[in-house]
C-alpha cells in the first residue's frame, strides 16, 4: 500500500501478492506505523501456510537462481536480497539494496515469474521457488527486448534503479503483451527512480512490447 502514490489509484492485484511477502518479516522495516498495522491485520486474517517450525543458527539452503542451483548457509532472518548479494557464490548483485523496507523496488526479482521485493522475502522462504534476477533476463551481449529498449531509449541514468525496473517490466509484459501507457505506469508504480528517467522508461516499455520479443 505504500505504493499507492495517489489517492485516486486503486490497489492492483500484483500489490496483493507483494503484500503476502511482508508476512515473512512481520512489521520489521515496513514503513509507517499505520500501514504496518493494516498489513499485520490483513496478514492475520489470511490462513497461515508457512510451517510453524522455528529455525535458528545457520541454516543450509538450496536456492535456484537464474536456473543454477546453489547451496548457501545463512541465518534464517537473512533476506533473499542479502543472501544473493552477500552469501551466494558468486555474488548476484543485479538486485540493489536501496531502502531495505519494500518501498522502492530496486531489489525486485522474479519468484516463479512473479515480481517480488527481495528485501521483504526471507531466503528460507524462497527455497522452493525459481528465482530470476536481472542477470537471468539477458546479458550485455544478449539483452532481452526490455533491456534493449532501455538502452535505445535511454531509460537509465545512474542505473541503480534500472535492474528493478527491467525486471518488473519484463515480467509485466509477459502477462500483458500489449499494454497502454497508463498500464505501464501502473506496472511501474512500485519502483522509484531518482534521476528522473520515468518518461523514457515508459517509452522503452512500450517499445519493448511493440517489438513482440518479450
Amino acid at each position: 500500500m505504500t505504493k499507492s502514490r495517489n489517492g485516486k489509484e486503486k490497489q492492483q492485484s500484483h500489490d496483493a501478492s507483494r503484500r503476502k511477502f511482508l508476512k515473512g518479516v512481520g512489521i520489521a522495516g515496513a514503513g509507517a506505523a499505520v500501514v504496518d498495522k493494516l498489513w499485520v491485520e490483513a496478514a492475520a486474517k489470511e490462513p497461515q501456510t508457512a510451517s510453524a517450525k522455528s529455525l535458528s543458527g545457520n541454516v543450509k539452503l538450496l536456492l535456484d537462481v537464474n536456473g543454477k542451483k546453489s547451496s548457501v548457509e545463512v541465518e534464517p532472518r537473512t533476506t533473499l536480497l542479502n543472501t544473493l548479494r552477500n552469501h551466494l557464490e558468486p555474488a548476484v548483485t543485479g538486485p540493489k539494496l536501496v531502502c531495505d523496507a519494500g518501498t522502492c523496488g530496486g531489489c525486485t526479482v522474479l519468484l516463479d515469474g512473479k515480481p517480488a521485493y527481495s528485501c521483504l522475502v526471507l531466503a528460507v522462504d524462497a527455497t522452493n521457488k525459481k528465482i530470476t534476477t536481472v542477470e537471468g533476463l539477458g546479458t550485455p551481449e544478449n539483452l532481452n527486448a526490455v533491456q534493449t529498449a532501455f538502452v535505445e531509449h535511454d531509460a537509465l541514468m545512474c542505473g541503480f534503479c534500472t535492474p528493478g525496473f527491467v525486471t518488473t517490466i519484463s515480467a509485466y509484459l509477459k502477462k500483458h503483451p500489449n499494454p497502454s501507457l497508463a498500464e505501464v505506469r501502473e506496472a511501474c508504480k512500485g519502483n522509484f527512480c531518482r534521476c528522473g528517467t520515468y518518461p523514457r522508461v515508459f517509452e522503452a516499455a512500450l517499445a519493448a512490447a511493440k517489438s513482440r520479443k518479450v
Partner: protein, 741 residues
C-alpha cells in the same frame, strides 16, 4: 617537490562567444599557439550533437555494472553506525562490551564527536561478519547521554530564549551573512509603484535521496597499500583523506569509482562514513564495507537547505518592476545553507537584500543540484506571478518586460508555444468543474563552465585499438559516452571503436563533478588529446599515402590522403611498436559559461480533494554545443522531475519535541513516482550557436518548481507560499478564499 617550470608557450588570440551580464558577445582570448582548431559549427558533427545511446547502458540494464555497493571482497566485514537519538546531546559514556562479545563482531569504535548537535549524528561504528550481526552489535551498545535542549523549527529557533544551536554561546541562531543594494533608494522606489506585494515564501528541506547510499568499501588487509571503492562525485577527493584515516601515505591509496548510483551534489570526499570505514579496516586489517542505511542517509548524509524568504515587490501598472526588497533566511541546520540573492535573474529599478543563516538542530545542508537556486527561483517567480496577477498582465509578457537578456525572451516564447499557453485561462480558478487546469512559467540561470584540471591520454595501438584514459567519474550523466565520442569523431570512427578508462585515481587527474563543471572541464582536454593524437597519427601514416600530415583526413573508418584511402586497421599497422599516446590539457576556448532555462507547467487541481495532478511540463535549455542529445534530454527530464518533487511532494518533517525526522524513508518521504509523471517535453535550445561546451545539469532543475507553483494558482486561484503544496494547503486555501469560482 620542486619542479622546474617549463618555458612559457607562444600564444595566439582567438575569438569566442561569451555571455557577459546575460548578453552573448564575441570576446578575444589568448590560447597556446599550437592549439588545435575549435569544435566547428554545432550542426557539422558526425557523432557529437546527435543522440547516442550510453556506452555503459548494456552493463547497467543487465545488472553487470559493478557499483561500490556491489563490491564483495573475500573476508570482507560489514560496517554499521549507531546514531544519536536526540536533537542535541553530549555523550557521557559508551559501553561497547556487550556488542563486542557477539560472535561475528570484529570491531566497535567510537565516532570522534562527543557533543552531538542533531538527531542522527554518528556515535559509534561496528564491523561484523554480516550486516545482520552488525545491526545486532549496534543495538547492544549502551550509551549514556546528557540530553541538551534542542530546536528544529526555524520560527522557534529565532524566538527569544530559544536553545542555542550554534557552538558559541555569544552568537545567535540567526546570523547575517550578506547585504546588497541601497535600502533608502529601494524604499524611495517603492513610493513610485502602483502595486506592491509583500509576502513570505517557504521551501522545505529536501533530500538528495541517491538510490545508492553514501559509503565506501575499503580494501585493506594490513600492509602498505589500500584500494578504496567509493560512491563519490570526486574520484580525486578520496585518496588523501582515506590515506590519513588508514595512516598510509597518500600515494598508497587508489580510489575506484566505476559506476555510481546518484550523487546530486551530496558525494564529495570520504565523509564521516568513509573515515570510520577506514578506521574499522585499519583496526581489523580486513576489508570493510560501510554503506549507509536508508535511514542513515536521510538523517545524516546532507540535504538541500530550506528557505524562508520575506519578499516585497513593487510594479507600475505598465509592468515595470521598480523595486524588490528581500529578507532571506537560509535553513541549513547546523550548516550554512545556500540561497541565490533576490531579485534573482530579474531587473528591478532598485533592490535591497539581506541574507541570513538560520540555524536549527539538524544535520548540515550540503550542495544539491544548483545549490540555492531553486529556492530563490521559487520565491521570486511566485512574487512575479502575484504582481502580474495584480496588474492583470500576462505572466510571460510581464517577465519579458523585466528581463534584459534576449535569450530568455526567445526561450519564453518557445516554451509558451510548446505548452500551448494560448489555452491558459487568464482568470485564476476560472475553469468550470471540480478538476481545474492551469498553467505557469518560470526561468533560471546557471554557470556551467569548466576548469583546468583534466589530464587525458589517448592511446592508439598497432592492432587498431583506441583508448582514452582519465580518472574522472560518470554519475549517470553520460561522461563515458561523450568521452568516447569526442575521440571517435576526431578519427572518423564509430563510438564503439574507442574504449574509455575512467574512475581511477591513478589515471590522469580530473575535477569533481559539481556545479555542472564536468562536461566543460573534461571535453576540452579530451578534444585536445584527440587532436594531438590525430596529428601524431597523421605524421606516422602520411608516408603510406604519400601525403603530408595536414593532407590526411579521417572518415567512415578510413584514412585518406592524396586521393588514396586505406582502412583504419591498415593505417594503425604502420604505427610504432608501442603505438602512440597523446596527452591533452584543458583549453578554455572550447568551453563557456552562462546558461538559461525556461520552464512551463500545466497542472490539474481537484478542488474537492486538493490533489494536484501534473499534466504537462516543458523545459527549454541552452548549453552551447550539446555533446549528446539523447543524454542531454534525459537530464532535462530529470531536472524537471526533481523540481516537480520539490513543488508538490518532497519535504523533511521534523518533530519539535523529539527533535527527530519523522519521514526518514521512502514510505513517508514522497519521491515523484511513475503515476505522477506528466507529459514531458525537453527542448534543447539550438538557437544557442555557441560552439563551446557548457554543463546543463543544474540549469534544468531550477525553474520548474516555480512554474508548477504558478500553474497551481492559475488552476484554482489558491496561492500556496509554503512548499511542498500538499492537498491540505489547497483545501485550507479554498476554505479561506470564498472568491474562487
Amino acid at each position: 617537490m620542486q619542479q622546474q617550470q617549463p618555458a612559457p608557450k607562444p600564444k595566439k588570440k582567438v575569438k569566442v562567444t561569451r555571455t557577459v551580464n546575460g548578453i552573448e558577445q564575441e570576446v578575444e582570448i589568448e590560447v597556446d599557439a599550437d592549439t588545435g582548431p575549435g569544435w566547428g559549427p554545432n550542426d557539422k558533427h558526425t557523432l557529437l550533437n546527435h543522440p547516442m545511446t550510453r556506452v555503459d547502458g548494456p552493463l547497467k540494464v543487465s545488472g553487470v555494472a559493478r557499483y561500490t555497493h556491489d563490491m564483495r571482497l573475500p573476508g570482507m566485514l560489514y560496517g554499521r553506525f549507531l546514531r544519536c537519538p536526540h536533537g542535541h546531546a553530549r555523550v557521557q559514556s559508551i559501553d561497547t562490551s556487550a556488542a563486542e562479545k557477539i560472535p561475528g563482531v570484529a570491531a566497535v569504535i567510537q565516532a570522534p564527536l562527543t557533543e552531538l548537535r542533531f538527531a542522527g549524528a554518528p556515535v559509534a561504528a561496528v564491523a561484523a561478519k554480516t550486516p545482520e550481526i552488525a545491526a545486532d552489535a549496534v543495538r547492544a551498545i549502551v550509551v549514556k547521554y546528557e540530553v541538551l535542549p534542542h530546536v528544529v523549527h526555524a520560527r522557534a529557533a529565532i524566538a527569544p530564549n530559544a536553545p542555542k544551536v550554534v557552538q558559541d554561546e555569544k552568537e545567535a541562531n540567526l546570523q547575517s551573512k550578506a547585504t546588497r543594494g541601497d535600502l533608502s533608494k529601494t524604499e524611495a522606489a517603492f513610493a513610485t509603484a502602483d502595486v506592491i506585494v509583500e509576502e513570505e515564501y517557504i521551501s522545505a528541506r529536501v533530500h538528495h535521496a541517491c538510490l545508492e547510499t553514501h559509503g565506501m568499501v575499503v580494501d585493506y588487509s594490513g600492509g602498505d597499500t589500500a584500494t578504496v571503492y567509493a560512491s563519490t562525485q570526486g574520484t580525486f577527493t578520496i585518496p588523501k583523506d582515506a590515506a590519513a584515516a588508514l595512516e598510509l601515505p597518500e600515494t598508497a591509496v587508489t580510489a575506484i569509482v566505476q559506476h555510481m548510483g546518484g550523487g546530486f551534489g551530496s558525494k564529495f570526499g570520504i565523509g564521516v562514513e568513509g573515515m570510520l570505514a577506514c578506521k574499522l579496516s585499519k583496526q581489523t586489517k580486513t576489508p570493510v564495507k560501510l554503506m549507509l542505511t536508508r535511514h542513515d542517509e536521510f538523517v545524516m548524509a546532507g540535504n538541500r537547505s530550506g528557505s524562508w524568504q520575506k519578499l516585497k515587490g513593487g510594479v507600475k501598472n505598465d509592468g515595470t518592476l521598480v523595486a524588490v526588497q528581500a529578507r532571506q533566511y537560509r535553513l541549513g541546520g547546523i550548516g550554512q545553507g545556500s540561497q541565490a540573492g533576490q531579485p534573482y535573474v530579474y531587473r528591478a529599478g532598485e533592490s535591497y537584500r539581506e541574507i541570513f543563516a538560520l540555524h536549527t538542530n539538524e544535520d548540515s545542508s550540503i550542495a544539491m543540484r544548483a545549490p540555492g537556486h531553486p529556492q530563490a527561483s521559487f520565491a521570486m517567480e511566485s512574487l512575479m506571478d502575484e504582481l502580474a496577477h495584480k496588474i492583470k498582465m500576462d505572466p510571460v509578457a510581464f517577465r519579458k518586460k523585466n528581463l534584459a537578456d534576449p535569450v530568455y525572451h526567445r526561450q519564453l516564447d518557445r516554451g509558451a508555444k510548446a505548452i500551448g499557453w494560448e489555452r491558459r485561462n487568464p482568470i485564476a480558478g476560472g475553469n468550470p468543474g471540480p478538476f481545474k487546469r492551469g498553467m505557469g512559467c518560470a526561468i533560471g540561470t546557471w554557470g556551467g563552465g569548466g576548469n583546468n584540471q583534466c589530464k587525458v591520454d589517448v592511446t592508439i595501438t598497432r592492432d587498431g585499438a583506441v583508448t582514452v584514459a582519465v580518472g574522472t567519474q560518470d554519475l549517470g550523466t553520460g561522461t563515458r559516452t561523450f568521452t568516447r565520442a569526442i575521440v571517435a569523431e576526431e578519427f572518423g570512427l564509430q563510438i564503439n571503436d574507442v574504449k574509455e578508462e575512467i574512475g581511477n585515481s591513478k589515471l590522469g587527474g580530473a575535477n569533481s563533478s559539481g556545479g555542472s563543471t564536468t562536461a566543460a572541464s573534461l571535453s576540452p582536454s579530451v578534444k585536445d588529446a584527440a587532436y594531438k593524437a590525430r596529428m601524431m597519427f597523421a605524421e606516422k601514416v602520411g608516408p603510406l599515402l604519400d601525403a603530408k600530415p595536414d593532407e590526411i583526413t579521417f572518415a567512415g573508418g578510413k584514412v585518406n590522403g592524396k586521393g588514396k584511402s586505406i582502412t583504419w586497421k591498415q593505417a594503425c599497422a604502420a604505427l610504432p611498436a608501442a603505438g602512440i599516446t597523446a596527452h591533452g590539457e584543458w583549453r578554455s576556448d572550447l568551453q563557456a559559461t552562462g546558461i538559461h532555462g525556461a520552464s512551463f507547467a500545466e497542472v490539474e487541481v481537484d478542488v474537492e480533494t486538493g490533489l494536484i495532478k501534473p499534466i504537462k511540463m516543458v523545459h527549454v535549455q541552452d548549453g552551447g554545443l550539446p555533446l549528446n542529445r539523447l543524454t542531454l534530454e534525459s537530464q532535462i527530464n530529470g531536472g524537471m522531475i526533481q523540481s516537480l518533487g520539490m513543488a508538490l511532494w518532497e519535504g523533511r518533517v521534523m518533530d519539535a519535541d523529539l527533535g527527530m525526522q519523522l519521514n526518514p524513508g521512502f514510505g513517508d518521504y514522497k519521491l515523484p513516482g511513475s503515476l505522477e509523471i506528466p507529459e514531458m517535453i525537453p527542448i534543447i535550445d539550438d538557437d544557442d550557436k555557441r560552439e563551446q561546451v557548457i554543463g546543463i545539469a543544474e540549469g534544468c532543475i531550477i525553474p520548474a518548481l516555480g512554474a508548477v507553483v504558478n500553474a497551481v494558482f492559475n488552476a484554482c486561484g489558491i496561492r500556496v507560499r509554503e512548499l511542498p503544496i500538499t492537498p491540505d494547503k489547497i483545501l485550507m486555501g479554498l476554505m479561506n478564499n470564498q472568491n474562487v469560482a
